[in-house]
């Protein structure tokens, strides 16, 4: 069976996910991801002509909370698990490229 996903795609997704993969891992995941896609491909055998797309697997909508304040953790607790801190800040490697926007 032909691979549904190639090495190049796996390398790209790994890069986007900031994952460093060895050559062996790339080969391994290329096979695994292809197998997953093959499995999901079975779904295409179903006729979905008149089926509404599903946005969520639970038959629920409009689950809200009221806009009332809950106590936050505070700086000390928030930083307790941080690998590195600088005063009240999380300390991270210098971000060089910030040409993004949330």
């Amino acid at each position: 069976m032909p691979e549904r996903i190639d090495r190049e795609q796996v390398t790209k997704v790994a890069k986007l996910s900031r994952l460093e993969l060895s050559e062996a891992e790339v080969a391994e995941f290329t096979g695994q991801l292809s197998a997953i896609l093959d499995y999901v491909e079975k779904m295409n055998e179903l006729d979905t002509t008149d089926i509404e797309p599903l946005a969520h697997c639970l038959p629920l909508s409009n689950v809200f909370r009221e806009d009332s304040v809950k106590e936050s953790l505070g700086t000390e607790k928030a930083l307790a698990n941080a690998p590195q801190r600088d005063g009240p800040f999380f300390k991270v490697p210098k971000i060089l490229d910030e040409s993004f926007g949330a």
Binding site: K12, K15, L16, R18, A55, H56, C57, L58, L60, S61, N62, V63, F64, R65, E66, D67, S68, V69, K70, E71, S72, L73, G74, T75, A78, L79, Q84, D86, G87, P88, F89, F90, K91, V92, P93, K94, I95, D97, E98, S99, F100, G101, A102
Partner: protein, 487 residues
């Protein structure tokens, strides 16, 4: 460089911070200027295993704004994850809305001079969460403050319908006024509550053919001034570049630029190729939102007369100048106060003068709004009526207004207490005029003599009457009596 005819096309992407008490998906309080990382919890820190829960108020605010922007409201809307790889959003994705935004296909009217409006189409409006802040000034590393992470943002995208920097600014200012009227955002520029990203290009006509220049997006502008200047700068820069290179818009040649506020230029930003590979997918942790029926009706009830419409009504219905109407409608409470005072019987132009010349000045001194001065709109109507009837002079009305704010007393009571009531009783004033005329035979003669001297003498006689009444005579009535006596 030859002179090229061109049209400007600008579309805007705007992020508006909603003024809920808490964040979009957790109960952390929104704030500004608090200690770094003090307003965070496991949800907005992106800890494993936590679940976001929608803030109902944020959804309602966003829908209200979308309604005011004449958007079609999606009956069914959902959340999506947008991949994101910077530490100010530690989940590694932003919760946003991709294919089913809560509002679409709307429009906003902006003033385009001399009482005209222009309609700018709104492509979409959707809710999302803000990122935190990365700071790069500390040294060879970056600092991250996550207090802002998870703040509800309304993202509004317009069609490229604006054709000048002035129109772009007009839209931004109108939107600020609108969201403040609706009470969905403080829209405080200083606090970054509104951020703009214009998409700019030109349609240049050369040798009878039209050429589109490559689109440039200017990122992250947070003042009206930077917004307007950056668009103006881009127009000139793109025109120059087209004349030089002739490059036209193609797939993949859109670029991103930043704004250098000090140098007042846009600067090309190098972007990684995969920067726009957001790989959206449905957010499994949040259920969809269905906007219909009673709930939608209740949200819709929060709409009000929008500022531009109000401003135009003040011009057409009350005869105010564009300028005065603009001043009065800058804040909703002031505009409504003005409207109430006029409806309570005040002459529109006089109420406008009292509010713009005395009220706003006083409010400014006290650092509050006109409404917060503690004066009733009926009181202002009454005050204006007193000036209209000649009971007090226009200049005395300023003093009375200030005392109304100070003491909370009614204007007629204050005018009496402050001895500002003008004598308008014709009989009483006539006796005083007669006395003055009798005492100043020379001046009476000069008036009769005509010429330059006559005018001066008449002024002198009027002054004498005012002096005798200690300034309390109604000068208009005195003038009429003088006219009848002196012929």
């Amino acid at each position: 460089m030859e002179d090229l005819a061109y049209k400007v096309m600008v579309g805007l992407e705007i992020h508006v911070q909603l003024c809920t008490r808490t964040k979009m998906f957790c109960g952390c309080a929104l704030g500004f200027g608090e200690d770094a990382n003090s307003r965070v919890c496991p949800v907005c820190l992106g800890m494993p295993g936590v679940l976001p829960v929608m803030n109902k108020e944020a959804v309602e605010y966003a829908v209200l704004a979308a309604l005011a922007l004449n958007c079609e409201i999606a009956e069914f809307t959902k959340w999506d994850r947008k991949s994101y790889y910077y530490p100010d959003l530690p989940k590694n994705y932003q919760i946003s809305q991709y294919d089913l935004p809560l509002g679409a296909n709307g429009f906003i009217e902006i003033a385009s001079g001399s009482g005209q409006t222009k309609r700018i189409r709104i492509t979409r409006a959707h809710l999302e969460e803000d990122a935190g802040k990365n700071l790069h000034t500390a040294g060879d590393f970056s600092q991250v403050d996550l207090n802002r992470t998870g703040t509800p943002l309304l993202e509004i995208v317009t069609e490229p319908d604006m054709s000048s920097a002035a129109e772009v600014r007009a839209l931004a200012v109108e939107l600020q006024r609108m969201v403040r009227y609706l009470g969905v955002s403080e829209a405080d520029m200083q606090k970054g509550h509104m951020r703009f990203e214009p998409n700019i290009n030109l349609v240049v006509t050369k040798d009878g053919a039209e050429y589109k220049t490559p689109i440039v997006e200017v990122k992250n502008l947070n003042s009206f001034r930077a917004l307007e200047r950056s668009v103006d700068f881009e127009i000139g820069r793109q025109l120059g570049e087209f004349a030089e290179t002739g490059e036209t818009m193609q797939m993949g040649n859109k670029s991103t630029r930043g704004w250098d506020d000090a140098k007042e230029v846009t600067v090309l930003q190098r972007e990684k190729e995969e920067a726009h590979d957001y790989r959206y997918f449905p957010e499994p942790d949040l259920v969809p939102v269905e906007l219909k029926g009673r709930w939608l009706k209740d949200v819709r009830a929060g709409l009000c007369e929008l500022p531009l419409k109000k401003q135009m009504r003040f011009v057409s219905e009350y005869g105010l100048s564009e300028y005065d109407a603009g001043v009065l409608t800058a804040e909703r409470s002031t505009a409504e106060f003005f409207d109430e005072a006029v409806k309570a019987g005040g002459d529109a132009k006089r109420v406008c003068n009292v509010l713009t010349q005395v009220g706003l000045k006083l409010a400014n001194e006290k650092d509050c709004s006109i409404v917060e001065l503690g004066i009733e709109s009926e009181g202002v109507a009454q005050l204006c009526g007193m000036v209209e009837a000649g009971d007090i002079s226009a200049s005395a009305s300023a003093q009375v207004f200030e005392q109304m704010a100070e003491t909370g007393k009614k204007p007629d009571v204050l005018a009496r207490e402050l001895n500002l009531i003008q004598k308008s009783d014709a009989g009483e004033l006539e006796a005083i005029v007669n006395k003055v005329l009798a005492e100043n035979a020379q001046a009476v003669e000069d008036v009769a003599g005509g010429g330059k001297k006559s005018k001066k003498a008449r002024g002198f006689l009027l002054g004498q009457v005012m002096q005798k009444t200690e300034g309390q005579a109604n000068p208009k009535v005195v003038s009429e009596i003088l006219d009848s006596k002196l012929g």
